[in-house]
Amino acid sequence: MKKQVLIGAPLLFAAVGILAPALAGASNNYTPACTQINNTAHVSFKVGGVDQGPSGNGLDSTTASFYVGVKVNVSVASTDSNNVTVYPGSTAAPLTFTVTNNGNAHQKYALSYVAEVNGTPSPFSGSDAFNSTGVTLSSAAIADLAPDASQTITISADTPLSQTDAQVAVYALKAQTQWLGTSTDVTADGSAKGSVIGGALCPAAGPGTADIDVVVGDGAGSDDGARDGAHSARDAYQVTAANLTIQKSSAVVYDPVNCSSYSPLTCSGAVRAIPGAVVEYTIQIANSANGTATNVTVKDAIDSSLSFYADGYASTKGIQVTSPNINGGAPLALSNGSDADQGDFNATNAGAVTVTGIQVAKDDTAYVKFRASIK
């Protein structure tokens, strides 16, 4: 063994790179695991003025060789940019993720989801307040993901009807590295190395492959630690529901004593709720939540002490609707019979006023009015 003399200042290179996070979207183009790297130097020289070496071309050095180890690095990211909107009763809503192999070897990934506990913050806004039902993954595993390749994975779930507006459910997707063709988790440096080298991962096993090692270099995810062969990220559902409030009010508009005419209405002094008086009922529907309520139906039975006033708003039009989606939001008188318009009396429901097709968005209000005379 000849003594090697090192010349010059020592090259103090820190062992960087293992934990350097991969740039999003960038390809690492790492040297594949198990690649043999050889370094051979050459010397040319003269002795006695004559070029030396076989055919005078000098001599090669011994070859210094090593194998590139297996770098395990997986990342999971949500591709949604906000909480995913769901509605009470909605089914199979997707949370979308990508799983990326940032290592230098083909890997298998076992996939699982975590239903976060109440109070877990969403990566976007709000915090977990309920659990979805029927939670499924688009696949249970990625059988073979090449270095620098990504695959899209979705969590899909149903939203219980009982959920209310703005509630959030947080889920995480976790990808655990496994050796190709196995269900063996890669959780630490050197994991199950014996089953890998010379197998599917390093098919070109040769002298020295026993020295190939496995280094796990993933970062900590939302639901896993650093350098554990796994990575995870969170995404969330947010419920959008309507919250309707209904108020009914009444006002006497005509009485036979204080008024001389109903149309045009001509009264003097305060009108009184006396037999023969006409009362206007107003049903107010308001929505204080984020979801738009569609196909709202108002049904109101006329009390037996009252008679529906058939000509309340025009001849044979005793119902009036005011809704943002009807008649451009302006009041519309509806005919009493069962026909194409949105309302009727004593047709859809016996003895009752029925108005259909009302739509109320967040912070909007709709009104249904009808009149009745006191018996």
């Binding site: 000849k2 090192l6 103090l12 293992i18 010397v43 003269k46 076989p54 210094a64």
Partner: protein, 163 residues
Amino acid sequence: MRKIVLALTAALLLAPALAPAQQKGVELKSTAEVEVAQKDGKGEQVVKRVEASKANVLPGDTVIFTIGYVNNSDQPATAVVLGNPVPKQMLYLDGSARGEGARIDFSVDRGASFAPLEKLKFITAAGKERDASAADVTDIRWTLERPLEKGGKGSVSYGARVK
């Protein structure tokens, strides 16, 4: 083509003679090492060099190649030039080439031309010329400035990062 045939013939003719007898002249030995940070007995971080073939070498890691040379002939060797192609899976680290008493030149065209790195130009795949950088280096050459006396020895080295 003819040159290659001739070289092969020469190698075949010389092979039996070379195999048993040690070729006298300047002999080289190439080693590859990585630096590993360890804690010493006092708990302080020390950097130790380990043979690359016995360490975990991963993409992004730095490997130090050392080429030791010794003159085993009976006479001084003159015009000693050491050349080392950078393995294609590796990127030369700027400023890492060392060699006492040697002029260090670089090539970015697989050894067709050599010069100090700051004087080299690199032709990109798109055909444009720009100043060469360390990552373009394909070959390193050390030219010993003085004859190597009988028994004289030394070493040169460089660092490179696994792609």
